[in-house]
């Protein structure tokens, strides 16, 4: 079909994707894809891949899947960031041109928020939430897998846009009318909307899943006020997700309708109103930034009390302030568009509501400090991140308050001051929190610690690199440099600070490389942790062996106090020392299923068809989706039995069964 082929090539690989960087990316993808393929083929691992990973519904394995994707996406987003910084290092140098730069900052923001931070958070949720509350799994194990595959295929869809068809290029916020078909022909923005829609559905399901898990499946005796702080933050994050993602879904969906089916929501003509998109986006977007920071707060609360050897200071206030942040998060979204002329009353209202958030956040900051007060601080890598977090986040929060000062925001809006603010909280808050959690829970997930010395090096690179990168950006904002410029002329005095900032970015990059090496090195050389409790932990997950057996708890523990495991250790009755053979009963566990994977694939194919408006493919994907749903409606065989004997043997093998 010769006439068909050029069309395909032109659509899938339009001229602007034939640039050196993108061809390089193509090449790398091909090489690594082929590498993976041959590895699997050579070692006959296909079956292993399918039964152990692609069909798994075990929350601990799903956690690993999330973690791997998140680190990969951190790499992708980080490489994007380095490209941005390279372009901006000096005035009027353009290693990449405007077209590509726009694609790069768009994917950088989108990937970092949706495909790095979110899955990283879900990795931690999945890895420890059921363990911490003393439960055998999440409420809906199969839906949990569905969430992951929707996320994964959504991420894949966005990532292939770089090499097939063209990337989105209107910022992570995707404001219309710039995203309308009139200004943005080609598949890029459709990729953005489609992939976020798909991943967003998965995220919403995750929110529901963890909300129900936490409110319904806590171990006996674990009342609300005995929940570890990480559970509190997970609970509030889940609630935030449930109420924040729907507006995003609507905003994305309506944009897609505008682009593909000619409706008139955000168009220039026909009574369309772009600002409504902005409104809906930030109705989601502001809660979103707390969605990514609350779990980090949770991690820090666990880490600080563990490594200070003290109970969390002001537990009740900590729990209530989390809830307060959750509530307030819904009421501040307009601060992202103070400059859209909604009038002084609207602005004043939202300025004040924004400032209010400082109070519960401050409560947390002070409680962390006073948790350390009178403790004995062990300087592990997880704790180092915590220590770097407090000053960094306070400064980021303080500049946030300056942005909330409405007339000041008229000057700060969309300048590099803003860029510096949000990296300050996103890196100093979220990323540091995730790193802390990574080092803290790694032994629980994999059974060995990450090397602490290398971890410390990576930490210093991240921390120092961070300050070198983003302090100058505050000043750049005061010099009037606006964001999303692919280059800038000489003569504004912007170049000095930009050079410094770029250097800092590369220091962070070095930190990332050390981190990757650290993971590789630790996998090969670190000793196994046999205790299951390498940090002298306080919460229930440390009561289990590492890695945790499939059924988590041979017998569900009874909780009598906050820091349940700590109390048990004090009283000398741990799970390990008290399990008798007759306590072990047969269990029912969720059975693996290929449905989630197929469903995700269906969404992916359908989404791809939508992006290129190839309707047969879109319909085909839709049919796969419907088919998997119908299949699971009729599938009553979703559990499996695990005989008591198997569990006894496992526990005995771990030395945890009394003779």
């Amino acid at each position: 079909m010769p006439s068909f082929v050029p069309y395909l090539i032109h659509t899938l690989f339009p001229p602007d994707t034939r640039q050196p960087t993108e061809l390089g990316a193509d090449f790398m993808i091909l090489v690594s894809g082929a590498g993976i393929f041959f590895y699997l083929q050579h070692f006959k691992k296909w079956k292993w891949l399918w039964t152990e990973w692609l069909t798994t519904v075990d929350h601990k394995k799903i956690a690993v899947l999330y973690l791997v994707s998140a680190v990969a996406m951190l790499f992708r987003g980080g490489v994007d960031a380095l490209m941005l910084r390279t372009n901006l290092a000096l005035p009027n140098i353009q290693p990449i041109g405007a077209v590509e730069y726009n694609e790069v900052f768009t994917t950088h923001g989108t990937i970092m928020i949706f495909f790095m931070a979110m899955p990283f958070i879900f990795a931690l949720f999945n890895a420890v939430v059921p363990l911490m509350i003393g439960s055998r799994d999440v409420a809906f194990p199969r839906l949990n897998a569905v969430s992951f595959w929707l996320f994964a295929f959504g991420a894949l869809l966005l990532n292939i846009s770089f090499v097939i068809g063209g990337s989105p290029n209107a910022g992570w916020t995707g404001y219309p009318p710039l995203t309308e078909i009139a200004f943005n022909p080609g598949p890029g923005e459709s990729y953005y909307f489609m992939s976020l829609l798909i991943a967003g559905i998965g995220t919403t399901i995750t929110g529901i899943n963890f909300l129900v898990t936490i409110i319904r499946m806590r171990a006996p005796g674990m009342t609300l006020m005995r929940m570890p702080m990480f559970i509190w933050t997970t609970l509030c994050t889940a609630a935030l997700i449930i109420f924040a993602f729907p507006p995003l879904t609507v905003a994305l969906g309506l944009s897609l309708l505008d682009r593909t089916f000619g409706s008139s929501f955000f168009t220039l003509a026909h009574g369309g109103m772009p600002m409504m998109y902005v409104n809906l986006f930030w109705l989601f977007g502001h809660p979103e930034v707390y969605i990514v920071v609350l779990p980090a707060f949770g991690v820090f609360s666990e880490v600080v009390s563990t490594f200070s050897g003290k109970r969390l200071f002001g537990y009740t206030a900590m729990a209530l302030s989390t809830v307060a942040i959750m509530f307030l998060a819904y009421g501040t979204w307009v601060h992202h568009f103070f400059t859209m002329g909604a009038g002084p009353s609207v602005n004043a209202f939202f300025g004040l509501s924004t400032m209010l958030i400082a109070i519960p956040t401050g409560i947390k900051i002070f409680n962390w400090i006073f948790t350390m007060w009178g403790g004995r601080i062990r300087m592990t890598v997880a704790m180092l991140y915590q220590l770097a977090f407090i000053p960094t986040f306070v400064i980021g929060g303080a500049t946030g308050i300056m942005l909330a000062v409405i007339p000041a925001d008229y000057q700060f809006h969309n300048s590099y001051f803003l860029v510096a603010h949000f990296h300050n909280v996103l890196i100093g808050g979220t990323l540091f929190g995730l790193m802390s959690g990574l080092y803290y829970w790694w032994p629980k997930m994999f059974g060995y610690k990450l090397n602490e010395r290398q971890g410390t090096w990576a930490f210093w690179c991240f921390a120092i690199g961070f300050w070198v990168t983003f302090t100058p950006q505050y000043l750049l904002g005061l010099e009037g440099m606006t964001r999303r410029m692919y280059t800038y002329p000489l003569g504004f005095g912007w170049h000095e600070l930009n050079v410094i900032s770029t250097i800092g970015a590369f220091i962070m990059g070095a930190g990332f490389l050390i981190l990757v090496y650290n993971i590789y090195y630790s996998l090969r050389f670190q000793d196994k942790d046999l205790t299951g409790d390498p940090w002298d932990g306080r919460t229930l997950e440390w009561a289990l062996p590492s890695p945790v057996p499939e059924y988590n708890f041979a017998r569900i523990p009874v909780v009598n106090d906050l820091d349940a495991f700590w109390v048990m250790k004090q009283q000398g009755v741990t799970l390990a020392s008290s399990l008798r053979a007759e306590d072990v009963r047969e269990l029912e566990l969720p059975r693996n299923s290929g449905m989630p994977f197929i469903l995700g694939l269906g969404f992916f194919i359908g989404g791809f068809g939508m992006v290129f408006e190839w309707w047969p493919i879109a319909i085909f994907g839709g049919l796969i989706v419907v088919g998997s749903l119908v299949f699971s409606a009729f599938d009553y065989n979703d559990r499996k039995h695990m005989p008591a004997e198997v569990i006894r043997q496992t526990e005995a093998g771990l030395g945890r069964l009394q003779a």
Partner: protein, 298 residues
């Protein structure tokens, strides 16, 4: 006495850092445009900024002192004599304190914030402002003077010492209109006219830029605002009206193309190119004819 050492080194570092920041900010050159406003709007915004910055510095200081002390005193090393108090995990007074103090600080910031917000929303009384209609186009700025009848592209002339009312709209994706030395920005949005008043008290040329990304030519959306004395302004307007070429509808349509252009001056302009209340909000641009030669892609 490990912690002594640490804190002395820390103090020295702190001093160095403070010096660095101080040099950058206090001795800041003219490139710090936000810090060098030339009109009342920018000045009010700056003074609020400074006020908030001072308050925030206080907050940061408090946190840093507490934090530094905790870290220095309670690290886990052999021979640490500071008391280990694992049951110190509640303190009613302290916890009330760190609700009240931030609340007070916030209240102190909030009051002038709200006041200034309302103040900036109103034109100063007893002044007749010069009105300039601003339309952001891909990727250029069109300035139209409804009273002087002239139009310019990518630069505007304003009188000093008088408030200028900019009426902002867009016949393109959104941008923001920002002249840092005059004051803060506001969006230009299709289908909506937003007012923004600014004033220059000193003659001079001030650069402006768009703050909202709007496609590949966005970086080129610099423009200049030239503030001259009111008489010079009048002279400029009438001179332009008399000598420059008029803008035709065809000219306007050419401006709508996705291009970057230099400065332009017109003696007059077709009405209907700026949405007026009587005309509803429809520009006569006809954007949709221009889809094909869009350079946003490749």
């Amino acid at each position: 006495m490990l912690h002594r050492h640490f804190s002395r080194k820390g103090r020295r570092l702190l001093a160095l850092a403070a010096l660095g920041v101080g040099l950058l900010v206090a001795g800041c050159g003219p490139q710090y445009v936000v810090l060098h406003p030339v009109g009342p709007v920018g000045r009010q915004e700056l003074s609020l900024m400074e006020f908030a910055a001072i308050a925030m510095a206080a907050v940061i200081l408090i946190v840093f002192v507490l934090f530094g002390t905790a870290v220095v005193r309670f690290r886990d090393y052999k021979g640490n004599k500071n008391p280990y108090r694992p049951d110190f995990h509640d303190h009613r007074l302290l916890e009330t304190l760190w609700i009240i103090v931030p609340a007070v600080i916030l209240a102190i910031i909030a009051v002038p914030t709200v006041k200034t917000t309302y103040a900036l929303a109103k034109l100063p009384a007893h002044t007749d402002p010069v009105t300039i209609d601003v339309t952001s186009l891909d990727w250029k700025w069109l300035f139209q003077y409804p009273n002087q009848k002239v139009a310019t592209v990518n630069y505007a002339v304003i009188p000093t010492g008088k408030p200028v009312l900019f009426e902002l709209t867009a016949d393109s994706p959104m941008n923001t209109f920002w002249v840092p030395q005059l004051g803060g920005m506001e969006y230009t949005m299709p289908g909506r006219v937003l007012p923004l008043w600014l004033q220059a008290n000193k003659a001079g040329v001030y650069w402006g830029h768009s703050g909202q990304f709007s496609g590949v030519g966005f970086e080129k959306m610099f423009f200049h605002v030239k503030a001259v004395t009111p008489t010079a302004f009048q002279r400029w307007a009438s001179h332009t009206h008399a000598t420059a070429a008029p803008m035709t509808m065809a000219d306007y349509h050419r401006l709508l193309h996705f291009t970057v252009v230099g400065k332009q001056t017109y003696a007059s302009y077709p009405k209907d190119t700026f949405p007026s209340v009587t005309h509803g909000f429809s520009l006569s641009g006809g954007m949709y004819l221009l889809v094909r030669n869009n350079p946003n892609r490749g």
